[in-house]
Symmetry: C2
């Protein structure tokens, strides 16, 4: 997948290349031919409001107006509605730090805002391919763009928080280096943008933050006229576990007649486990879930109760001495 | 995990050891001390109504009255409500064949009954650790008990289809050999039963059948007085991919403001993919999804739209020659 390539275009994170709503009337920041490679400089999701000295209070006081600052849009010559953009993800480079946090109460973001009275924040030192958490816990880094998409056909400015048929804020953690993402095109030129990068994330992104960080994203952007898809698809080699191979996991089931409630139960049970067996605070446990715990749909057919199971990799903990 | 062990008790699949409802008034089929090993002979979910010559019509005409024939219950001495049963899964032996099928329309079982007008069935030859599908597709076998649980505190006979706080029909595919399952106990002695075994299954079990088969299950049953859990938990080493390591997967997203609808979309998109790119019929594709495609909760926080992604391992297809 990662054959040699040359970068054809660079898009800086200057204000002229940044937009924070999906809008098909935006002027392209760049026009390219199909098959060209673009290196995007991407701001973090909160657009620089936090730094390595920030506290949970800073997160609680952050403005959500600039979310998400995306780099683009890129107009691809010859691309028409009904085509598919093929995005080959060639390279990611973080900038040495990131953050994962949660906000309780009235903001209402994340899976369990009702469980916490105060915000929580962890600033990660990102050292190459590892992120440092508390108590010697180390998270492998597998960067991907939280937001990757094209402009919707519907007119006007659209919030970047929800993903749509054209992609956007998908937070699919397997869109890693070497992966290819397929996006259904709704407007001429596609109008591709990306940003909101994560150095790592568990399936689910339960705090509504992965390891958020500014990042360089290099991608080859091509067109497929032969595909017929209605929502994004991808080819990936994972990783599907932190070590890239089978390893011990601790699993907590969430059983309920509602899939969202089952998801909440699975995560609450994992937070219980991390508190009881690993000595983390509930806030630390919630952040760890968002960064590394994977949610799987175990069954959606044994009516009327469904199961979502949360899986915690045990390789992230320091070996007992 | 799989240290040497000796089998302390054997429970045959004779009628006296089989029950098809959860009911804490059932006489134990066996009483054991904590830590003893039991080998359970388990019938298939449809209790022998199908065999290797069966057709989709036979499945459509099957009675659901005997579902699920479970082997047990086992009374464990000294076990009290509030304890946790620790089930170490030591060994599984299938009996050389199995089936995966779906039923449309009024039965309403499975994720997509509305998409199919006729039943579908695949009979699998199970050769050691591989199952044979159509077109040279081979599925690795990773057996587990679809149903594993203890009796609920609530009086009376309870349907075995839905899982509950005490476990039951969980269909958690990672309860494989070497795994340990933790079950919250609600009645004296626990009253443990298992059955409804699967030789393989994708996360989701979308057809409501994995690779269903009769099987021997050997497990060490112990008690934990120190754990406090409210729904089942587990320790497992997977496998998390068919090959046990990172490998190419094709992913289809399902994006919707309802998690169940997102799940349906992801699976429909995967069926589209298998039809267009792999030449399967839609019924074959649905069966393959139930047997090997894994559903992951990609994000449950980017309001109002959630994403479930279906992952197809490409290692199951024969190499192109």
């Amino acid at each position: 997948m990662s054959d040699s390539y040359t970068i054809d275009h660079r898009l800086s994170a200057a204000d002229t290349n940044i937009h924070s709503a999906w809008d098909n009337s935006l002027e392209p920041a760049l026009t390219i031919d199909p098959g060209e490679v673009v290196r995007f400089d991407c701001r973090d999701a909160l657009d620089g409001q936090l730094d390595i000295d920030s506290t949970a209070e800073d997160l609680a006081n952050a403005s959500f107006d600039p979310v998400h600052p995306l780099t683009g849009p890129v107009y691809v010559e010859g691309v028409e509605p009904g085509d598919v953009l093929e995005i080959e993800l060639l390279d990611f480079q973080h900038k040495g730090w990131g953050y994962t946090g949660f906000m309780p109460g009235e903001m209402g973001l994340g899976l369990l805002p009702e469980d916490f009275e105060e915000a929580g924040l962890h600033i990660w030192d990102l050292d190459g391919d590892v992120g440092q958490f508390v108590d010697g816990i180390e998270i492998p880094l597998d960067p991907f763009p939280g937001t990757i998409g094209v402009a919707p056909a519907a007119e006007g400015a659209h919030d970047t928080l929800p993903p749509r048929d054209v992609g956007g804020n998908m937070d699919v953690k397997h869109m890693t280096e070497g992966s290819t993402v397929y996006l259904p095109v709704e407007v001429e030129g596609g109008l591709f943008s990306t940003g909101d990068c994560h150095a790592a994330q568990g399936d689910g992104e339960v705090c509504v933050t992965g390891i958020e960080c500014p990042m360089f994203v290099t991608a080859r952007i091509d067109v497929r006229k032969d595909m017929d898809i209605h929502q994004p698809q991808l080819e990936t080699t994972g990783p599907f576990t932190p070590t890239g191979q089978d390893e011990p996991m601790y699993g907590t089931t969430g059983i309920s007649d509602d899939l969202m409630d089952a998801t909440k139960k699975a995560v609450r049970h994992m937070i219980d486990h991390l508190e009881a067996e690993r000595g983390l605070t509930r806030g630390e446990a919630y952040i760890l879930c968002s960064a590394i715990v994977d949610l799987k749909v175990s069954e959606v057919v044994d009516a009327p109760n469904w199961i979502v199971t949360a899986y915690l990799p045990e390789s992230i903990f320091p070996e007992e001495t």
